[in-house]
């Protein structure tokens, strides 16, 4: 028996479940498309905001948000959980029900498994969804081929905790179970990776925990980069003032292989380092779905985009935001993803209404905690110049070197998290 597309759709529309159909090589259309539809993939820092702002700006556009999980756990502040400063992940967890209730975003919990740019259809684990424009904010996946031995089983022994959730909880548990006098090893990949200051904030929070609870223990940081990649001066001062003798920072040590059975990591085949707890942060690239759709550039890792619309330069009609894209000078952060999502939403609404687009203006701020009560930040304003996103000259920068604002910044940082997660979920 064969079905042409139309009668198949009729069948699907009549409520025949996909499971009850013969194999026809095409999944059921999940929801028939009306006049104007944007599909957003990924319910994290970028995707939720793109979905919400498109609806805020134009109610005539139907927005379908597809996310594999029924909730999202924030990476920002997950280092504080690992360090025991916050006790559970609830304040970092959002649901999507209010995006639906308040803005009419149609939320679908499914895995997106394929994209057909010519047919303008995405395939999901639940059926296909067609679109007029597609927004991808899938975050990152790992370049496991550059970290020998680091497979799914190894991740359960040496967690990455670079996607928040069960991995974060696992690392916290391992740290709690470690004996006093033990050694934790952390590996940092070459930049660019998600959240430049993130590894160093993690080192600070781990050291904070060790100092308080296991003062004879050590943290060895094996950094593939020649130096700390963000807020270097501030981290070094913070570590000297608070964690002398606890953090052993070793630059230019690129870990390329792990041996979970021996609790060992290997540095370019030259040197091995043992740990009682090992946190491997592998090299990264754009989320797999963006790679599969042919959106990555020459580097094979990240997706080049138009700096005004965030439309892929590789495929028309597909926009990429957040960690997965190359947004000029904007770093791979949650704040950047939030800002990029709004720029993208504004211009998608313009394009779909045949209106003139608007040049981007964006912000990034990343707060990093050094102790439980002190945080430092890096901030910048971004604009387009000669077709490239640049940091506006003579603006931005890092917190004062003497930590004079660090206590206030720790207070404001908490409110930043609250506000950005509220933006994403209401």
């Amino acid at each position: 028996m064969t079905l042409d597309r139309r009668s198949f759709l009729k069948l699907a529309g009549a409520g025949v479940g996909a499971a009850g159909l013969p194999m026809i090589g095409r999944a059921a259309e999940l929801m028939p498309k009306g006049a104007k539809r944007v599909v957003v993939v990924g319910g994290g820092y970028g995707g939720t905001i793109a979905a919400k702002y498109i609806r805020m700006m134009d109610k005539s556009i139907e927005v379908v948000l597809i996310e594999r999980n029924d909730h999202f756990v924030s990476c920002p502040f997950s280092n504080l959980y690992i360090g025991g400063v916050i006790k559970d992940l609830n304040p970092l967890t959002i649901k999507f029900d209010k995006l639906a209730a308040n803005h009419g975003v149609k939320v679908v919990q499914a895995e997106v498994t394929g994209i057909d740019p010519a047919g303008k259809v995405v395939t999901t684990s639940k059926g296909t969804v067609s679109y007029d424009r597609l927004v991808l904010s899938p975050g990152v996946d790992f370049r496991l081929e550059e970290m020998k031995g680091y497979d799914a089983a190894a991740m359960e022994i040496m967690p990455h905790a670079w996607k928040a959730g069960p991995q974060t909880v696992l690392l916290r548990k391992q740290l709690e179970a470690m004996k006093d006098g033990g050694t934790m090893v952390m590996t940092v990949p070459l930049a660019p990776y998600r959240c430049p200051p993130g590894p160093y904030e993690r080192a600070s929070m781990v050291a904070h925990y060790l100092k308080k609870n296991k003062p004879k223990s050590k943290l060895v940081v094996l950094d593939a980069n020649p130096d700390i990649t963000s807020k270097g001066g501030l981290f070094k001062k913070g570590w000297k003032d608070n964690y002398e003798g606890i953090i052993d920072y070793r630059p230019a040590k690129k870990v390329t292989e792990v041996e979970p059975g021996k609790m060992t990591v290997l540095i370019e085949g030259l040197e091995d380092v043992k740990g009682d707890v090992i946190n491997v942060i592998p090299p990264q690239r754009a989320g797999q779905i963006a790679v599969a759709a042919g959106l990555v550039g020459e580097d094979k890792n990240w997706c080049p985009v138009n700096p005004t619309t965030f439309e892929s330069t590789k495929q028309a009609g597909i926009h990429v935001i957040g960690d997965a894209c190359v947004a000029g000078a904007m770093p791979k952060s949650g704040y950047s993803a939030n800002s990029e999502a709004k720029i993208c939403a504004t211009n998608i609404v313009a394009l779909m209404n045949g209106k003139e687009t608007t040049e981007m203006s964006g912000i990034n701020t990343c707060y990093s905690y050094i102790t439980d009560k002190e945080a430092v930040s890096v901030a910048a304003v971004y604009a387009v110049k000669e077709g490239k996103i640049i940091a506006v000259p003579n603006s931005g920068g890092v917190s004062p070197a003497d930590f004079s604002a660090a206590k206030m910044e720790a207070i404001y940082a908490e409110s930043w998290l609250k506000n950005i997660l509220t933006e994403m979920s209401t």
Binding site: S339, N347, E359, S361, S395, S399, E409, Y412, S415, W416
Partner: protein, 192 residues
């Protein structure tokens, strides 16, 4: 004919280039949306220490931004950010946030302090902070429903001399006790 062809090709290629470059300069909404990651959607902050900007007096926002930019007003992060904007862009954002819906908050305030603050503000603050702090006139900011920890942190900056208090406000603030000031801030935070 050949010449014409060349001209045509040139014209279309110029068109193609300008079609890419053709985008309006950042609008007030484009500029302001970037602030919302900290200050909340449309400037309505979920708190507890980040100030709301929604329905703030335009002049108060513009004044604050210019003082952040010059360093006259102390800040943790706003100075670094304000330096990224022209005066015209600051005006546009001030205008945008002043037109957003007032963001009423429900904060944990002390009822006795609210009562005391309500009595004190009549004589001491209401000349400038009009209508229980709901009306922000010119450079006087709206304080109604502003987050209490924010108001407390700003008052500390004033009293330590780091943020310069308007002279006439200082005359009123100086004679008041710590408890009086605390009560006043509880009052303003409670106003909806």
């Amino acid at each position: 004919m050949a010449m014409k062809w060349k001209k045509w090709a040139l014209a279309t290629s110029v068109l193609a280039v300008s079609a890419i470059a053709q985008a309006a300069p950042p609008s007030a909404a484009m500029l302001s949306n970037a602030c919302a990651g900290c200050h909340g959607t449309n400037g309505g902050s979920a708190g507890p220490s980040m100030p709301s900007l929604a329905s703030q007096s335009k002049t108060a926002i513009v004044d604050a931004m210019k003082k952040f930019k010059s360093g006259e007003r102390p800040s943790t992060v706003m100075g670094r950010l304000a330096k990224g904007y022209s005066d015209a862009e600051i005006e546009a954002m001030g205008d945008y946030f002043s037109k957003q819906k007032f963001h009423a908050t429900s904060q944990a305030v002390d009822a006795a302090k609210v009562k005391k603050g309500s009595d004190l503000q009549e004589a001491n603050c209401s000349r400038c902070h009009l209508d229980d702090g709901k009306d922000g006139k010119d450079d006087t900011p709206v304080m109604a429903s502003q987050w209490l920890p924010y108001l407390q942190m700003q008052m500390e900056l004033y009293q330590s001399g780091k943020r310069k208090m308007p002279e006439k406000m200082a005359e009123k603030v100086k004679p008041l006790s710590k408890e009086d000031i605390d009560a006043l801030l509880h009052f303003y935070a409670s106003v909806k």
